[in-house]
Amino acid sequence: MANPSSLAASLSPEASPDLVKRAELSEIDASTKAPAIFLLGSSVLWLLLGTVFALIASFKMHSPNFLGDYEWLTFGRIRTAHLNAVVYGWSVNASFAVAIWLMARLARGVLRHTGLLFTATVFWNLGVTIGIAGILLGDSTSIEWLEFPPYATPLLFVAYALIGAWAIITFRFGKSNHIYVSQWYILAALFWFPWLYSVAQIMMIFSPARGTVQSLVNWWFAHNVLGLWFTPIGLAAVYYFLPKVLGKPIHSYYLSVLGFWSLAIFYNWAGVHHLIGGPVPVWVQSAGIAASFMMVVPVVVTAINHHMTMVGSFGALKTSPTLRFIVFGAVSYTLASLQGSSMALRSWNEVTHFTHYTVGHSHLGMYAFFTMVMFGAIYYILPRILLKEWPSAPLISVHFWTTAVGVIFYVVAISVGGLKQGFEMNNADIPFIETVKNTIIYLELRSYAGVLMTVGHIAFAVNFTWMLAKRRKAGATAPTLFRTGPEIELEASAR
């Protein structure tokens, strides 16, 4: 890269018109291989680690003496390590992988600057590792969703800046003459996150705002990580994989655009609903409630669109693992969002705020929606970049059924427990300790659900590792699963 003209050519399409040609899909997929495998590999490791943390935290909630003598495993730390491992380790790594693969495919160009991307992902994982070690050792900031100690965050920021720069370059090199809605979501998410993250870091940690302005910044950030990072990436994946797997265009492209803009406008005000009744100005709370309620618009629009695309093709759920996970995720998105809107209503918030019900809601969003969509996307992407099939169909089924049943069981158990807790907590005649004791049984049920989900994660990890280790068939240019009928017949007649 010493030659300045070649550097310019690699950064801008105008400088090198001869480079502009549409690439073959398989060529594009292959170009994403190195960074995507690294990202997916690390995301699976973080998923397993985050699951272990989750189980320890969950057991501790009903059996407080479990591992009670270890300071670094105390609930306040292990719970935080769980959140950060599954959010910044598993979810962000997976979403990076899915986003770059989608970006490359939708821009119709082979991936450029994989070195840049690779450096970024190494930095990211380094930052997450240092951050989680810091939390366990007692350096947590105790700011929800921003617990990484200040010595870990610059690494994350560098990583993020590199990925953002990469995304812009890829987009500029795009050969597609149309910006598909998934690209809107991904580009928006890539743009929003650094803004949120830098404002939050500055106003919370490096130069803290005074008093409860901090809390506003905190929830503006924390809720928008969900709404303006994970939700757009998850929806981008749904908007791509749902029509792609079925082989039919999305029901209404118009609705998908409407959904995008209404989400962009309403979601980012909604975070204040975490502070209803708190010591922050009443008008911001009201704005948060209003925005949360208006979220019904993008959610219903998106739900209708997804459902109408599926109509007539439900049979494909039997044959496609990707579709199963994606559809499960899309339905959960609708449920989680409508639940979220209802929880912002003052009378309902009075009951559910500060209870385990909120924990159920967050798992409905981050797990039943986002994580399941990522699983589905990985089942689609990995065969195409490795040019091999998944080694075991039964393991895929085990993965789907344990996680699907597990998370439903989880959400139902913890929500019922949370509601009971909420109603009892608002009745001052019931001693507080009784409200605690009455939740224990639900917390135990939650642990069982967690064990079930763990089984699914192990099945997934085994299949994943096996796939990486498996040898590719000689001469394979594509996984057999997406070869079309005629090709297979040709091959058969040649034998």
Partner: protein
């Protein structure tokens, strides 16, 4: 046509809108709240925490207490915060302005701690407040059977008695099954002491002008100290 710039503009303004509304406007409108100087008391409220309590605040932070305990009292009629005795009045923004990091919290697995310093109190003649906290932290089952709060035994040191027993030892406060072997004593570490000091310091009892608008539980014995509460009626 290339619509990317237009889309980008839309994306930019969407977030700029909430950033301005939620973060910027509030930072400008109440980001520089100042303490209120009470001429009768000769004290500016809220008061700064004593040094040892500041250290305890950091222990509270590193152990993640905030994930199960809130520090905010909601207004009467919205939840049962006041009825449960978690505070005499609703928390207001000014209560938090001295805190380098605000621990409002979002979960009540355990009770609200905003005014825990009024519930367990040390007086010149009695250490009842800190003794309760030490027993509770050592193992919550001692004071609150059935609680799911984790034990914090690791904040205490069991050590051999060399010469005179330590004056800080909490051995005598612990029930029989927690007693160390003969010749040993249980002593709080510096962190345990500072955490307890922090918990003892948590109280918002001063009535600021703005709390008059909200609601103040009549508290006759504190009327003198709090000065302005009369007007709240």
């Amino acid at each position: 046509m290339n619509r990317a710039p237009l889309i980008f503009l839309g994306i930019f303004f969407a977030l700029a809108f909430s950033w301005t509304g939620i973060v910027l406007v509030n930072q400008i409108s109440y980001g520089d709240l100042t303490p209120v100087y009470d001429e009768n008391d000769g004290i500016a409220y809220p008061q700064a925490l004593p040094g040892i309590a500041q250290q305890g605040r950091l222990v509270y932070q590193d152990l993640g207490c905030v994930y199960c305990h809130t520090q905010q009292v909601r207004r009467p009629g919205f939840g049962a915060d006041i009825e449960r005795g978690w505070g005499e009045r609703q928390s207001v923004a000014r209560d938090y302005i001295r805190e380098p990091r605000v621990f409002l919290g979002s979960m009540r697995t355990g009770p609200d701690l905003r005014n825990v310093g009024t519930r367990y109190v040390d007086t010149p003649t009695s250490k009842a407040g800190s003794e309760w906290h030490h027993r509770h932290l050592y193992d919550p089952q001692i004071t609150s059977p059935g609680s799911n709060m984790p034990p914090f035994k690791f904040l205490y040191e069991t050590r051999k008695i060399v010469g005179e027993p330590s004056v800080n030892a909490i051995t005598h406060l612990l029930p029989e099954q927690y007693q160390p072997e003969a010749g040993y004593e249980v002593v709080p570490t510096k962190r345990a002491e500072s955490l307890v000091a922090y918990l003892l310091s948590l109280k918002d009892t001063y009535a600021y002008p703005e709390t008059n608008n909200v609601y103040v539980e009549p508290a006759p014995e504190e009327t003198k100290a709090a000065g302005q509460k009369e007007e709240s009626k």
